[in-house]
Symmetry: C2
Subunit: 338 residues, 2 copies
């Protein structure tokens, strides 16, 4: 895509998230009520930690996608609320465990839960949220949706283990990266939209379309996130710029850079990768190498391709405002990178 | 119970575990095959860690109880195998996370997984096992059993958080202790026998009887375990004697001792409780205090009461060899304390 085309698309999609928020508001009101309700526990520490994370909010993009997907097919009868809340709980459980695994200090613009309550409580409250997610699914008696969610939970965990195994592995390939983000990110987006479609009464083709849409959207989302980690400002995403570098995460920008780098450049990257004390100067040096080899640009190009595929996945469905909006959301996801 | 009565009962129940193993062998062969199969993953680290834990074995008491409960009602059609394997996976997931939370070094007589692969992998492989447990449940399309298991997973996590919150809390009461073990141990025993009964085609009364049997058995089991932690020899249970003391766990023997202790005794307990370097001399001092106030004896008396209730729960069911055997298992569970 040319820069001017990108700018035009960005204008068209700039308010996509606002419009998604608006379109899903009635459903999300019920989802948010359920989220608060199910974060309760007579064990004080549980709601305290769960709410700390939940109140920080995030965009609630995944449950919004579940609601939107259900609306696309028109005959949602209420199970979409449970599905959406379960998706958000599964996501939050993953975040709690991720922060323990990554030893992250920040999450959603404030101290990670583990910094306030310790790793132990973060692990256990994550388990609680996971259990509650399944309980909300079970309440709908929708065994096919349960299958989607339980499979997603398994694949996400597998992906996280794979990412851990590849941490600081200088031989990691773009294919490894695809496997990691396909499992840890795209799987949940895919599940979110697929169960939404199911709740909305989609036929097999509709379900398949939304599954593919969610999967491609998830890839685009994570690719852009991994670009922003090197380009954003601290606090902007509730993460610190350079976290991935310090944590030794083999994201695509670094994989592509290592492949193209001179010996001297390679050494610079290796010296910074996975070193907790890699400061702003190191980060700037690494970013200069990325710029020389255009690895952020190449990563964005991949995100654009996935965004395009996400929109394409919807093409076979009847035209509707919601279909257009979901297409714009895919575009917006990519345009965050600019 | 008098000592001689206890010895007589012990003789009657001594081989109960052997007989349970024998009676459930055909079912357990299928369960063990499923456990191995579902511990597989293309991500190498996953089966490596899962099998390390699974191969260490343990008694597989919980899945055996599921199979036994299903046999009691006679019309098991295969779902009991999935249920039993899911119960064991849920148990193993809990162990992996527990060891991280408790910072345990040992599990089932060897180094805890976290000592070999780190806390990070233990958290994530635990999540994987949890996901697989739900997938095995989902395969049976048995929504009521799924409800039992997902509720159990949630309550177990809540109980672990409560235990963490009460760690080294000198004001912890016997009621707090009951809440902790009711949630973290009895809930899984209860779920194991209840879903077994469901797989076997039990009616509501049968299901209720097995739920109650499992719950009481779980209480008895944990009470005895908490006695053995102060009395066993290192390695006997794959735990080190005195672990609970060093980890600051408020188990019943220590709660009762604190209540009865003189100021000097209290100070001795406080000095050892939750101190990683509390050595054999400290442990002996604490045990001497327990002996003076008979707190291990009182804990065993409670276990006996729960064992009695477990046997009583079965009383309304038709007499059968399996019913007798399950009663003997309850007796055996208590007699381990002698």
């Amino acid at each position: 895509m040319t820069l001017s085309a990108a700018i035009a698309d960005e204008a068209a999609s700039a308010d996509a998230l606002e419009r998604l928020l608006e379109a899903t508001r009635p459903g999300m009101t019920r989802v948010n009520a359920m989220i608060l309700d199910r974060a309760r526990s007579h064990v004080e520490l549980v709601p305290e930690i769960a709410r700390y994370l939940i109140d920080a909010g995030g965009k609630r993009l995944r449950p919004m996608l579940t609601i939107a997907a259900s609306m696309l097919f028109g005959s949602a009868k209420g199970s979409e609320v449970n599905f959406a809340a379960a998706v958000e709980f599964l996501h939050n459980a993953t975040l709690l465990h991720d922060d323990v695994v990554d030893e992250s200090n920040m999450r959603r613009g404030r101290a990670a839960a583990r910094m306030k309550w310790g790793n132990q409580a973060s692990v256990l409250v994550g388990d609680f949220l996971l259990g509650q997610a399944f309980m909300m699914m079970v309440e709908t008696s929708h065994i096919d949706a349960l299958q989607v969610i339980s499979k997603a939970a398994t694949i996400i965990a597998e992906g996280e283990v794979f990412q851990l195994a590849k941490s600081r592995d200088l031989t990691a390939t773009a294919a490894d990266y695809d496997e990691v983000i396909g499992a840890k990110t795209a799987t949940l987006f895919e599940a979110a939209t697929e169960v939404g479609a199911m709740a909305g009464g989609a036929d097999a083709a509709g379900r398949r379309a939304l599954r593919e849409y969610g999967r491609e959207l998830g890839f685009a989302f994570q690719l852009v996130d991994d670009v922003l980690d090197y380009r954003g400002e601290a606090g902007r995403l509730g993460k610190n710029t350079g976290d991935d570098l310090r944590e030794g995460k083999m994201t695509l920008p670094v994989i592509l850079a290592l492949k193209a780098a001179s010996d001297a450049e390679r050494q610079l990257i290796v010296d910074a990768l996975g070193h907790e004390d890699a400061g702003p100067d190191k980060l700037l040096q690494v970013r200069a190498i990325f710029d020389r080899h255009d690895t952020l640009g190449q990563t964005i190009a991949r995100a654009e391709e996935h965004g395009r595929r996400a929109r394409e996945a919807l093409r076979g469905l009847p035209a509707s405002e919601m279909r257009t909006l979901l297409g714009d959301v895919a575009q917006f996801t990519v345009s965050r990178a600019y």
